[in-house]
Amino acid sequence: MCYHMSSKDEQPTSAPDVTTSPVVVPVTDVPAGVRVHHFDELSEQTQHALATVSHSGRLDIDPTATRLSRGDVVVFTEYFRVQ
């Protein structure tokens, strides 16, 4: 999968929630405190990434171009938690 560079300094960083593409995993339970997005709330770009996600669960999207954050849940064909 693609390796993302920092958009500011072109150097790889180690902060995975900032510089790597989100990974989604199916979940069945949603705790009260999490942020939940319906698929229709997402940008066309993020929707495309979700609709074409591979078995690895990694979204093919620039992490700075999506509003998804670690811990969020997305309602799509099933519930996915963003890792």
């Binding site: 949603v30 009260a32 939940v36 319906h38 698929f39 066309e44 929707q47 495309h48 519930y79």
Partner: protein, 413 residues
């Protein structure tokens, strides 16, 4: 002197307008008036709550501190009953008068009632607000059998709720297919099969003639126009929305089923704008008036309206909406205006994969994708840019369609 903005309605259109107004006009007076008893919540997630899959908390988007933090005056439980455009005033049900310099009407709609005998029986639900969802959830969890009426995008939410709650159901439809104005029999059959797998049986050429109820006024069955009886202690109805235009009576604000606005969300009054479900907007892509109830469209309309309330002509509403269904293990997405057009093209690729595009004057004006949403971006781009795809319709529905497959001017996209 600071401007005074009043927004009627705290759905996503009204709330996004308030947020934009505050960004654009830090010193303005901003008031939101809503007849609901709670601040903005996520209307497209309440079905998940009613299914029993989501707790209440994530459904709420704003608590009252959101408004306090932005110095927005939120007025709950208040129904606006009268508008005086000349005086620039609104009157609420309790007689309170509100003055405005610029007004935004984001007043949405109310579920259409089924005009049949006993349609007000206890146990018959409409589905629009968060409170409706709470009532539905509480009831369906106790129900034994159900009937759902309304073969469209809202009706299928009710059918999915009954399925998710493990309640056997009949889904009564007037024609021979679910959402027959947008889907062919091939496409609809994918949905029908998914419903059957979840113990919800579509019943075609049906509908409701009347309901039966017991001595306590509780619904017991739906009787369709053929005389067939469907026992049900839960009934869900979603046959459309009546847009809340009654407060326009006595004004000369132009409206039909919704409020007429231009591409800047302005009505025929310079100081009155509208946004969200309630608008019949000038769709610059379609070239005619249109209505759209999708979440993203309403949010964008609220933002655009606010910008033009501050500086008219500064932002145009140019948008291809989409609406997805997330009830099944295959994805479903409609975009644009799939029920319009003068021709269409469709293809079925498997038992759970199908596409249809609606074409008007040689251009895509909408579509439905089932099973594979990956072409969405390409089709929306062609629609947004009003590309003439005449003579290339079969190319459009190739399973692995790429924009490069198009020939002539269309290939330049």
């Amino acid at each position: 002197m600071s401007q005074s903005y009043v927004i009627v309605g705290d759905g996503i259109a009204g709330a996004s307008a308030a947020e934009t107004l505050r960004e654009e006009e830090p010193d303005a007076d901003i008031t939101i008036i809503t007849d609901e008893g709670e601040p903005l919540y996520n209307r497209i997630l309440i079905k998940e709550f009613a299914k029993g899959k989501l707790p209440e908390a994530p459904i709420s988007i704003h608590d009252e501190s959101w408004y306090d933090d932005r110095d927005v005056d939120l007025v709950l439980n208040t129904l606006v009953t009268d508008i005086d455009p000349d005086a620039h005033t609104l009157t609420a049900h309790d007689g309170t008068e509100y003055e405005y310099d610029k007004l935004l009407l984001a007043i949405g709609g109310t579920p259409t009632q089924l005009p049949v005998e006993n349609s007000d029986a206890e146990g018959i639900h409409h589905f629009w607000t968060f409170q409706d969802a709470r009532d539905i959830k509480e009831h369906i969890e106790q129900a034994d059998n159900s009937v759902v009426i309304g073969a469209g995008l809202l009706g299928i939410d009710l059918a999915a709720i009954t399925a998710a709650q493990g309640v056997e159901g009949k889904y009564l439809m007037r024609g021979k297919a679910w959402w027959r104005y947008a889907l062919s029999q091939d496409g609809a059959e994918i949905i029908h099969n998914a419903l059957r797998e979840r113990n919800v049986e579509p019943v075609f050429d049906s509908g409701v003639d009347h309901f039966e109820m017991d001595d306590d006024g509780v619904v017991t069955a739906a009787i369709d126009p053929n005389g067939d009886r469907y026992p049900a202690d839960f009934v869900g109805i979603a046959i459309g929305l009546n847009f809340n235009t009654e407060i326009l009576g006595g004004t000369d604000i132009e409206y039909d089923t919704g409020i007429y606005v231009d591409e800047y969300m302005r009505t025929n009054h310079d100081d009155i704008f509208a946004a969200g479900d309630i608008t019949e907007f000038h769709d610059v892509i379609l070239g005619e008036r249109a209505q759209n109830g999708a979440w993203g469209s309403a949010k964008e309309q609220g933002t655009i309206a606010a910008k033009n309330m501050v500086d008219y002509g500064s932002a145009e509403f140019r948008w291809v909406s989409s609406y997805s269904i997330t009830h099944f293990d295959f994805p479903f997405l409609s975009f644009g205006h799939p029920t319009l057009g003068d021709e269409s093209v469709e293809a079925k690729y498997s038992d759970t994969e199908w596409r249809r595009l609606a074409i008007k004057d040689g251009k895509i004006v909408g579509g439905v994708l089932i099973g594979d949403l990956s072409p969405q971006t390409k089709y929306k781009k062609l629609m947004r840019e009003q590309v003439d795809v005449s003579g290339q319709l079969d190319t459009l529905v190739k399973q692995d369609f790429q924009l490069e497959d198009l020939e002539g001017a269309a290939a330049e996209q």
